[in-house]
């Protein structure tokens, strides 16, 4: 044993863990918690996983190069498709792309920081992907994988296509541009079951090897782009199945057209890099007072603002001295900051009562059960209203202050529910129906007549073929629902005070902040950021 141990010791000689590993773990935990919150209440609907394959063949990516046309500016989104801007770095290459937000989610594999990225969208769960994309440079070990025998050894796309087993050429190979860089493109159709899981169809002569790994089956369509970015080859593959009966092609094309290389700003030009107030009339952008920014503690989980009805105070989430998220309040000028919750685990998602005396938030009782609490701001006394087992309840008061609207149900099937402030049983606020199977992330308009929420499924109305999910506006009793556009929202500030507009975001930095006219459905991208709330009828508070 000692001999073996000595041998093994030689194997780890010189290895030093990252000095900031502990901080990385804390950040990773925070990111996961945030993602859980963002996705809670949203049912996954159709899978569309996308991937770009990056193989570094030498030479650093030149970030200073100006890509040639076409693609000087991103293509506009097709009608009905809202976009979310994502940026990723693989190796030394940074690039951004826009993802249709309806039903898509970024997949944060733990291997992502090094080599691979995927995004996905599902109507039937992640095990039945309808399409795929990847970013990776993982090598492929031909020694152990039974599919290795299927791999061609082509050095270019044409050769790879010619030798790709079980596929038929549908389009190309052709020369195109992606993000202003030259690329080769081909479309293949899978004509026979490759007999392996996964059914690889292509690799190249890189010494490290490499293969795309979606499990292709008969009827799949495979779209391939190889982009030549200086010394780097980016390999993009999108696979769609026969079940992909809604217009995925349009979405795939949109993603490809949106790819840009180099760092992408996460805010509009000239916008502050900290949370700010945006005057929609004048375009003026004013950073929040420094005292408030400082109190956010730099945590990505901070924010989640709510403004008091008299427009004088903010409630928001920030870490306390022990790093636990708590609710704080402050005057809009940054004075009077004080912590108002002392939750044993965390207190999040604050929203003011219409009389400005109370704040509802998610939190934990001393016994550890998650629930919704109503806090008397003056006394600090908190009362638990109802248990909610999962995060993402995003509570708000009804306009009359008598009840709380929140997202209940399960992660798989969220439900917009309502419960009296004084306690008691909750009830379903929105009965989805009409092909929509769930509802959540909702709030009632200031006059109490309308409700907005996220819902997923296949609307029988035919407004869109598929919601994964869509944002709806309906009468307060759930009737008369219609797709309004936009995506996630902070229920504490979704509606403009006059009820004429709503604001939505994506929850991700750099995401599109949409202002949507409720009556007409017209919308405008007002900013980039994680989320925004209304301060008054022409002013937003933007979380970057």
């Amino acid at each position: 044993l000692s001999d073996t141990r000595e041998l093994l010791r030689r194997g780890v000689e010189g290895f030093e863990p990252m000095p900031d590993a502990f901080e990385r773990v804390l950040r990773r935990r925070d990111r996961k918690r945030r993602n859980q919150r963002i996705t809670a209440g949203v049912v996954g609907i159709a899978v569309f996983v996308a991937a770009v394959w990056v193989v570094t063949t030498g030479g650093a990516f030149d970030r200073t190069q100006t890509p040639a046309a076409p693609g000087a500016s991103p293509s506009p989104a097709p009608a009905g498709i809202d976009l979310q801007e994502l940026e990723r770095t693989v190796g030394d290459v940074t690039f951004s792309f826009s993802v249709p937000i309806t039903g898509w989610e970024a997949f944060e594999g733990y291997w992502e920081p090094k080599d691979a990225i995927s995004i996905n969208k599902s109507i039937v769960g992640p095990q039945d992907a309808e399409a795929m994309f990847f970013w990776t440079s993982f090598p492929y070990d031909e020694r152990t994988d039974p599919c290795a025998r299927l791999l061609p050894s082509g050095t270019d796309l044409a050769a790879a296509v010619a030798t790709a087993p079980g596929t038929e050429l549908v389009e190309g190979p052709s020369d195109v541009t992606v993000g202003g860089y030259p690329a080769n493109h081909v479309v293949l159709s899978v004509r026979e079951d490759l007999g392996c899981d996964p059914g690889f169809f292509y690799t190249w002569d890189d010494p490290a090897g490499g293969a795309l790994f979606p499990s292709t089956t008969v009827g799949d369509t495979i779209r391939v782009w190889i982009v030549h970015v200086d010394g780097t080859r980016l390999f993009l593959e999108a696979v769609t199945t026969e079940q992909a009966d809604f217009d995925l092609e349009q979405e795939i094309e949109q993603i490809i057209r949106s790819i840009r290389f180099g760092d992408t700003p996460t805010t509009f030009p000239g916008a502050p890099q900290v949370d700010y107030v945006l005057d929609l009339n004048t375009g003026a952008m004013t950073p929040l007072p420094e005292a408030i920014i400082r109190s956010l503690g730099g945590s990505v989980l901070s924010g989640s603002y709510a403004v008091s009805p008299d427009d004088s105070m903010l409630a928001y989430v920030a870490p306390d001295d022990d790093g636990r998220l708590q609710v704080f309040v402050a005057n809009l000028d940054g004075s009077g900051i004080r912590q108002v919750t002392y939750d044993p685990v965390e207190a999040i998602s604050p929203a003011w009562s219409p009389d400005g005396m109370r704040i509802v938030h998610e939190g934990y009782s001393s016994g550890g059960a998650r629930g919704l609490f109503v806090l008397d701001v003056a006394t600090g006394e908190a009362t638990k209203v109802i248990d909610v087992p999962k995060p993402g309840a995003s509570p708000t008061f009804t306009p009359d202050g008598s009840s709380i609207v929140y997202t209940g149900g399960t992660n798989q099937q969220p439900e917009l529910r309502i419960v009296p402030v004084k306690g008691g049983p909750s009830s379903l606020l929105v009965e989805p129906g009409g092909g929509i199977v769930d509802s959540g992330n909702g709030s009632i308009s200031p006059d109490g007549s309308l409700v907005t929420y996220l819902g997923g499924g296949f609307p029988e109305s035919g407004e869109v073929e598929h919601c994964g999910p869509c944002r709806f506006v309906a009468n307060a009793d759930g009737t008369g629902k219609r797709v309004i556009g936009g995506w996630m929202a902070n229920p504490a500030g979704t509606w403009s005070p006059d009820g004429s507009r709503i604001v939505t975001g994506t929850g991700n930095p750099g995401g599109a902040i949409w202002v949507i006219d409720v009556a007409t459905g017209e919308r405008e991208q007002a900013a980039r950021g994680r989320m925004a709330i209304w301060l008054d009828n022409h002013t937003l508070l933007v979380e970057v």
Binding site: L1, D3, T4, R5, L7, L8, R10, G11, V12, E13, G14, F15, P17, M18, A21, F22, R24, V25, L26, R28, R29, K32, Y110, W111, P113, K114, A116, F138, P139, Y140, D141, R143, T144, D145, D197, P198, A208, G209, A211, F213, S215, D322, G323, R324, T341, Y342, P344, V345, S366, L375, G380, E381, A382
Partner: protein
């Protein structure tokens, strides 16, 4: 509203986890380095495993062996990753040509290559027992197999490793 007792317990728990992390992280990374052969991947898995431990620290911290839980989590992550990606990510541990082995025995890359050339099960058993000093029962629990199977794998792994590196027992 403020629950002083719980707050103090929470602070203690946070400090407990940090102490645990500082004590165990390096060893976990080293074991994973031997297992996956790539330092970056080893740290990726180690950090994800530690994140999961942190998320459950109120429960894991009270276990007899939080360390065992961390290693089991890391091993599961490693296995899951292989299943999910269905690839073998061994850029630096590609099959080693025979001629590369003998003259450079002792070099850490050769050791890593030799370890990597072992079948998955043998490699995991070797690392758990010979590197992490788990007994075979403990390793069996981590791997989800019988202790006898661990011993068989261990024997074969040691033999293969010595042969590969031309070490005389």
């Amino acid at each position: 509203m403020r629950d002083v007792t719980l707050q103090v317990e929470g602070q203690t728990a946070a400090r407990d986890f940090e102490s645990f992390f500082r004590a165990e992280y390096r060893s976990l990374c080293q074991a994973l380095l031997l297992l996956v052969g790539d330092a970056f991947e080893a740290e990726e898995i180690a950090q994800e495993a530690m994140t999961r431990v942190l998320e459950r620290w109120d429960r894991v911290g009270a276990m007899d062996s939080p360390t065992g839980y961390a290693y089991r989590t890391a091993l599961n992550l490693h296995r899951k990753r292989i299943r999910r990606l269905a690839i073998r990510a061994r850029r630096r541990l590609a099959p080693v040509p025979v001629g590369d082995i003998g003259p450079e025995a002792g070099d850490r890359q050769d050791v890593r290559r030799a370890v990597a050339s072992l079948p998955d099960g043998q490699r995991a058993a070797l690392i758990l027992v010979d590197w992490l000093d788990m007994d075979t029962e403990e390793a069996a629990r981590a791997l989800g197999i019988e202790p006898a199977s661990v011993r068989v794998r261990l024997h074969r792994a040691r033999s293969s490793l010595r042969d590969a590196l031309e070490v005389t027992p």
